[in-house]
Symmetry: C2
Subunit: 218 residues, 2 copies
DNA sequence: CCATCTTTGTGCACGCGTTCACAAAGACAT
DNA sequence: ATGTCTTTGTGAACGCGTGCACAAAGATGG
């Protein structure tokens, strides 16, 4: 029976092993003391808890540059998401296939969502149309929205919105970059002539977690 | 002189006003008691602290579906980012303009970064090529990377990586969705027949912040 | 069956960000 | 000037996630 210890997993993920064990304990995933966790069982438990065992139909609204890229992206299917429909307001696009799926007109939005039991919607329209599209999605029964438009969406209680703002991602990088530049004086003598030597532990914290350090007065 | 109070800003942003005031106090942004904050001065202070006053040259590597969408995206320029170059390994793409910018071959990568003083790179290549591209970017002097490939990148200390994993965004939504479904019994009598009534406060927390609730034993 | 060794599960303490609550500051009217 | 009224700035309390440290569990070998 293939097993892993919390220590091994923690090292691979770059996190503390105690945290990892405690998280697992919440799932009720029992490991075996002295041995570790049964890999297969662990994977199953986590998948189930995360909702990866069922597949979720999603609709993408706004098939422009970004929407088309998303439609073409194979990474969704492999994680249990199925693109149920592509929707765009442009009549010229109706019927035209993108990634093998014919684009449907916005008029069909409500019917599509109902017919397919869609509860997750992706908004990739221009910012100006986002709220309006959002309202229609919600009215039709969608309760989770992934929003790429640079707008704060207003939704009723019970509806989840996640906003992906790529500009902000870059801004966070730029912010840190600026910080680095400001530390030239202190760090100057510490590193020698560049030569990015290999560091073979994955860098901790490369997720979109809120990790902008507090801005203390310098 | 146009001003805003912390209370107004907090309501608009959906956060606590005290937090907002405390955050501002770290910037040294002095408001006027009894009045609020001078809008113009506040915007300037925040912009400066966030690094929005200078513009940052960025390179995008991997001009496929996603890379092309990013290149076409106007939202970057408006936040002070300038696409210095588009880079792809496919010889067939070299010279072909995307979003008005000619694609350059990977061979030019080091030269481009050096010539333009680029410190921020965007990786939109397939997962298999990401680490290799990352290594070259870092070796050439890039110290901040926005990674769209579904891989954990290994980088030397001093280099920041932000990973944008769209599948995970969907997974988080699906996770919450699953939770909602599990609460049917308790919430059944509480809401009546749907009718998503307008709630005119922007929903708190729609950012990609780590906000997955602890998974307590049910 | 007992001893030893590994690894889990978790109580507890620490640190940090959030929120409360209020004194002080300043605008504005009288 | 003086008083009132609004809003800031911040000390202190709170809550929560993280990490430490260790007892208990169980495997494994003698
Ligand atoms: N392209 C990017 O890399 C990128 C990055 C970050 C954010 N965004 C945001 O994503 C959104 C889309 O970007 P894009 O580059 O694909 O834009 P785009 O103009 O290429 O595509 C927008 C699409 O939405 C459709 N549309 C417009 N109104 C609609 C409506 N009411 N209902 C349905 N469809 C409608 C248009 O017909 C068009 O096909 C924008 O809000 C943009 O700010 C894009
Ligand atoms: N399309 C999406 O919506 C989406 C969403 C999430 C994540 N991603 C990820 O983003 C990446 C790109 O996705 P895509 O859909 O644009 O793929 P794509 O295949 O359309 O584009 C990849 C591009 O990278 C180029 N490339 C390959 N190796 C390279 C190298 N070593 N150096 C430079 N360029 C190289 C290819 O020539 C191609 O143009 C993938 O890792 C994918 O998993 C994409």
């Amino acid at each position: 029976m293939p097993t892993v210890s919390s220590e091994e997993l923690a090292a691979a993920a770059g996190v503390n092993s105690a945290k990892l064990r405690k998280d697992f304990s919440y799932l009720g995933s029992y490991g075996t003391r002295g041995v570790g966790y049964d890999v297969e069982y662990l994977v199953y438990q986590i998948s189930r808890e995360l909702g990866l065992t069922q597949d979720w139909p999603v609709v993408i609204v706004g098939i422009g540059n970004l929407g088309a890229a998303l439609a073409n992206y194979g990474g969704f299917a492999s994680r249990g998401f199925r693109v149920a429909a592509l929707i765009d307001a442009d009549p010229a696009m109706a019927g035209k296939p993108v990634a093998g799926i014919p684009v449907q007109h916005t008029d069909e939005l409500e019917r599509i969502i109902e017919d397919n039991g869609v509860s997750i919607g992706v908004i990739a329209t221009p910012a100006g149309a986002a709220q309006q599209v959002c309202d229609r999605l919600v009215a039709a029964g969608v309760t989770s929205i992934l929003n790429f438009a640079p707008t704060v969406l207003t939704v009723p209680d019970g509806v989840d919105v996640r906003k992906v703002d790529l500009s902000i991602e870059l801004q966070i990088l730029a912010f840190h970059e600026q910080r680095k530049a400001g530390e030239e004086s202190a760090a100057a003598a510490a590193d020698g002539a560049a030569a990015p030597a290999a560091r073979r532990t994955p860098s901790t914290d490369q997720g979109p977690d809120g990790d902008v350090p507090a801005v203390m007065p310098a």
